[in-house]
Amino acid sequence: MSATSFFSRLDQIFVLLRNWLVGFLPPTMRPAAGVVLAVMAIVCVFPGLFALTTVFERKGLGRMQNRLGPNRVGPFGFFQPVADGIKSLTKEDIVPISADGLVHFLAPLVLVVTVFMGFAVLPMGRNMVLVDMDAGVLFFFAMGAATEISVFMAGWSSRNKYSLLGAMRAIAQMISYEVVLLLSTVSVVMIAGSLSLPKIIDAQNQYSWGLPHWYIFTPWGLGAFIMYAIAATAETNRSPFDLPEGESELVAGYHTEYSGFKFALFFLGEYLAMFSISGMGTTLFLGGWSAPLAALNWIPSWIWFFGKVMMSIFVFIWMRGTLPRLRQDQLMNFAWKFVLPFTLLNLLVTALWRFLGEGWPRWVLCTLILAAAYVLMGRAGLYRKHIGPRSYRYAE
């Protein structure tokens, strides 16, 4: 068969596979079975990805702090996650005596379930979305909001001041940054004119002079993406926003009192949240599964999607290896006094962009406004010595 058709088959391989498998069933059951298969695929793929990521993260952090990461189990220690899994399964599941049994038990389940729900609307490749929902974006963030309650349940139920503090911090942080997350998404929705993720991707999956129409390549898109990245980092409690589990202050935050499999579930839940939020960012700003160059379209779409997701995961790890942790008040001020205003400004600029319509003026105008805002902000910061070059005093 010709190369193109081969690559198109390769592109659709999972879809074809599903259809083939479903083909064995009576027609009445096929749709349901298809959904079940897709769900199974998701439920298998992402935990696998999670296992890989843990290794990569530990090794990568090791490199950044120039030490070897895990390198005992298997070749280069790549079977480390297997060992960890076995350990967490076989460990004793400790529940504090004064803990609130039911809630303590439910918390991790709620977390994992809601996080998994988020994947339902992410298009992971051409025609590779579980449910093409009309209000997909809304659904995604609704699920994201639902995780907070689980965090609270965990923190409160285990009757431990560290846990409670961690949970409170986590929730405060999540709520504050969720606003930013949503607002930075709104600008994309405004331009794409749809809440359905496949439609948003289609809006970006066009090329002029071989270059893609990804939203990150527009002034407002870039601004929104930056804000989204910040908010996403905070939303997933990653460094530098990892106060909720700042081990130096509160032992391990809201899952201090969890051990064994439940702890593993929390761990899983957090990484899944990272995946899903990176996938969302990819879909909103980086054109989802579309290729970065028209010339590269032959490469299967799902490779692009997962490649982009892993790229952003790498950035997460990189930041963790690089940035120091913020203080709580700094965190809040940052959220409400810097990120939110700029997101709003970005929204206004997006509206202006939409209003100006096609043509060069909108590029000039929007770029000017945003650049001016950022520059002025920096100047103001320098002017009032809030931010700007720090002066260090070394012990002599």
Binding site: R354, F355, G357, G359, P361
Partner: protein
Amino acid sequence: MMQEAVAFTPGGARSMIAQYLWLIPALPIIASGVIAVLRQSRRKLAAGLAITSLSVSLLLSFIAFVRVVGHWAGGSVAREIFNVTWFSVGSAPVDLGWVLDPLAAIMLLMVSFVGLLIFIYSVGYMAHDENFTRFFCFLSLFAGAMLGVVISNSILLLFMCWELVGLTSYLLIGFWYQKPSAAAAAKKAFITTRVGDIFFFLGIVWLFSQTGTLLFYNYGVGSLEGLNLANLLTARGGLGLSAAGAIGLLIFAGAVGKSGQLPLHVWLPDAMEGPTPVSALIHAATMVAAGVFLIARVYPLMSIGAGAAGTTSALTVVTWVGSATAVFAALIAVAQNDIKRILAYSTVSQLGYMMAGLGLGGVAVGMFHLITHAFFKALLFLGAGSVIHGCHEEQDIRRMGGLRADMPLTFATYGVGMLALCGFPIVFSGFWSKDAILEAAQHWSLSKVPFYLLVFGAVLTAFYMTRQVSYVFFGYWRGRGTAHESPRVMTMPLAVLAFFAIALGAIGTPGWPWFRAFLENQPATAAFYVLIEPEFLALLGTSTLIVALGIGLGLWLYGNKSPKPETPDILEQSAPWLWIPLRDKLYVDEFYRVTFIAFYAWWARVADWFDRRIWGGIVSAVALIFGLWAKLNRALDMYWVDGSFDKTCEELSNGGGLLARVQSGLVQNYLRILAAAVVALAAILLWSSRP
């Protein structure tokens, strides 16, 4: 919204400039916003921003103008519009939009050009003011709003900008608010124009309710075109007017307020309390002309249904008001001694000319005078400013004199402006524009009175300008200290304006009526033979006569003899019965004071009296009654003390206690009672409404 608006405009061939026309007003407004947040010390930056933004606007306006001329020369319809639905309440869309047609293009060019010159001038004039940045903030806000008035295609947008213009005028008149007179003048201007704007707004509402659209032009369904206009003509407007006429008159009331026509002219002279550039820009060249422009914009409304006489009642009113104002203000101007006040009254009278021109000869005639007047009156004001500047803030013309030696450049340019204002034949633009008005008046079918009025006004104009010039520039110096010529940044604009005060005449001569043709969208044909036809020559003769008469009279009375400032004016010596009332501005202010203002004061007093006497009286009466009642009770107690009475008291207090228990302050009790009541009510309703 925007995209849709574009989508359903037929024949989407809209030029870039028409689409981005809104940038012209937007730029100065943005600039003013930026200037507003600057620190006071950033003078250069402020001025730079204002001037840059306005010059960009000027550039864009020029592009737009060229575009329109191209359309017109190409013979296609020279009107491009761009409408946006702002939002819609229920089913009624609230539309905004802008229009680019000859009228708008001309005005854009004039406003941004004169504005730019005056900006530059003010850099010099305001150099020593500590509120420099604030001044430029207001000034460029004004420029933006004025340009907005010019381009707006939606009467709502026009009204917004109109009010914004009024606001900036208020702010700028009261710029030196430390001076109580300035503050008072600002308030007077604001309130007086409000009176007109109320009627204007009524007109807008009526227009909207009649046509259901706020847009002037919208491809045949706007309020000034097609079916809507015809319906307006047929609809009844009361007082034997058509709705069109009535609405037109209401809008005209707004114009009367803004451009100081007869009943509401009182604020304009006082507005001279503001800085001179402001007087030049706002109260001579642009804002006061906005009224005239407004009438020109809604001219279809005024002129539709013109009878055999070739005019409508609305236009007749406009004519009469205009010509009356022209003479009235000119009369007052004769007897003023403040250099800026004279110019202010002359502005009022010239605005009267424009109105009369609109009423008599249509858009072209009025607009032509508007444009020329904008240039030479701005020139005169800036010249006056330079004179004041040179004479150390002296404004009384009796304390000047002989300045032609001290300030030659100012003198030369001022002379040009003066001659243009007098309508000195052939050379000066003022002649051609005023001539057109007089000609139109001469051919007016209804009555010849306006013609005579306007002619008389012209004589007076020449007269008082001669008086002023001979007071200021001739004779010998009577002020304090010595006068000095103003800096270059101030005189350069004067020179430019002077050039235009002469050159602009060329585009409107009867020989080559380019302006009229452009505005009325017909091909321009040069017909120089008209210039030697007896009719024109006769007119030329008369106007020459008029000007000569005025100037001669002026020179005879005031020429080159410079009386002491203390000695009364020559006219005052010879004809005090004429002079005194004129000097006191024909007592209009006094009249208002004893009528309207007095009425309001009286009304306030009445209300106050009501409060004190009637209501207060009632209250105290009630109190008194109760007092009596109490006394009565006490008497009863005294005579009627027995157990039954105590018992009643007990019962009462118990009942009170019972009732008080309900008011437990427990929220849930209230909620409970509420819920129970709701249940009962619902049950009753359902039961009663059961099938």
